[in-house]
Symmetry: C2
């Protein structure tokens, strides 16, 4: 199984998950793949958090190594790459939903997040099915 560390800090599952995902940036790329239909380096770069190019490159590589995302040459331009969530990556969705629920309840938010919060509050399971269906449709169109 892929793990980002050659020698894990401990046998604890939380420690091992954090060795892969525990930083301020990695899950933002996963977020962009899940919720914003982003699949390209320059698309991740344009997210509002303004990730630095070297951090983005290292996190994409880390996510590929951990088997959370995969990459393929862009069909229109072989020098570009398309990134997409693997099944392992898609299984992170329930964790992101819990993050959103916690953040809605406990952090100051601006109006921009309200549509996401409302759709999760209405039916979190249906929301997750829809996100996964949208990813499947993108895959059908692009990974044929």
């Amino acid at each position: 199984m892929a793990n980002s560390e050659a020698t894990p800090r401990s046998p604890c599952v939380f420690s091992n998950v954090l060795d892969i995902l525990g930083d301020r940036w990695t899950l933002l790329i996963v977020r962009d793949l899940f919720f914003f239909g982003k699949h390209e380096y320059k698309e991740f770069l344009s997210s509002p958090e303004a990730i630095a190019t070297n951090i983005l490159a290292s996190r994409l590589q880390k996510l590929v190594c951990a088997g959370i995302i995969d990459e393929m040459p862009h069909p229109q331009n072989k020098s570009r790459k398309l990134y997409f969530l693997t099944e392992r990556g898609k299984d992170l969705l329930p964790m992101l939903v819990e993050m959103a629920k916690w953040g809605e309840k406990h952090l100051t938010q601006t109006e921009v997040m309200r549509p996401l919060f409302e759709v999760i509050r209405r039916d979190a399971a249906a929301f997750q099915r829809k996100v996964l269906r949208d990813l499947k449709n993108w895959e059908k169109a692009n990974l044929a």
Copy 2:
């Protein structure tokens, strides 16, 4: 509302949660408070990941500032402190349960995590109720 950053990177809920929790150590302290009955600096220090003293001190402070944990003088020794999860901190439990489920499914684990995985698989809601009940009992005994 407490937020670890004076100027958030973006209005995104995921970004703001990660500004507080997005590193390799913070959630390990939260884990120790939830699952291992740890409440003291030296107890966190003795966890198998061998957190450095300066990192531990900074993360405890960050968690207090974010309102996720609180602190009080130790009843037996005023120079020591007891740390405990606030209601805001306790609301992180569903996220940790999802982390554990993802880790069980996708990472190599050793035998030590099996009891946790089994109890979550059997009834995740009952497991969470038990964890919160245990915390309440500790509070009754210590925060009286």
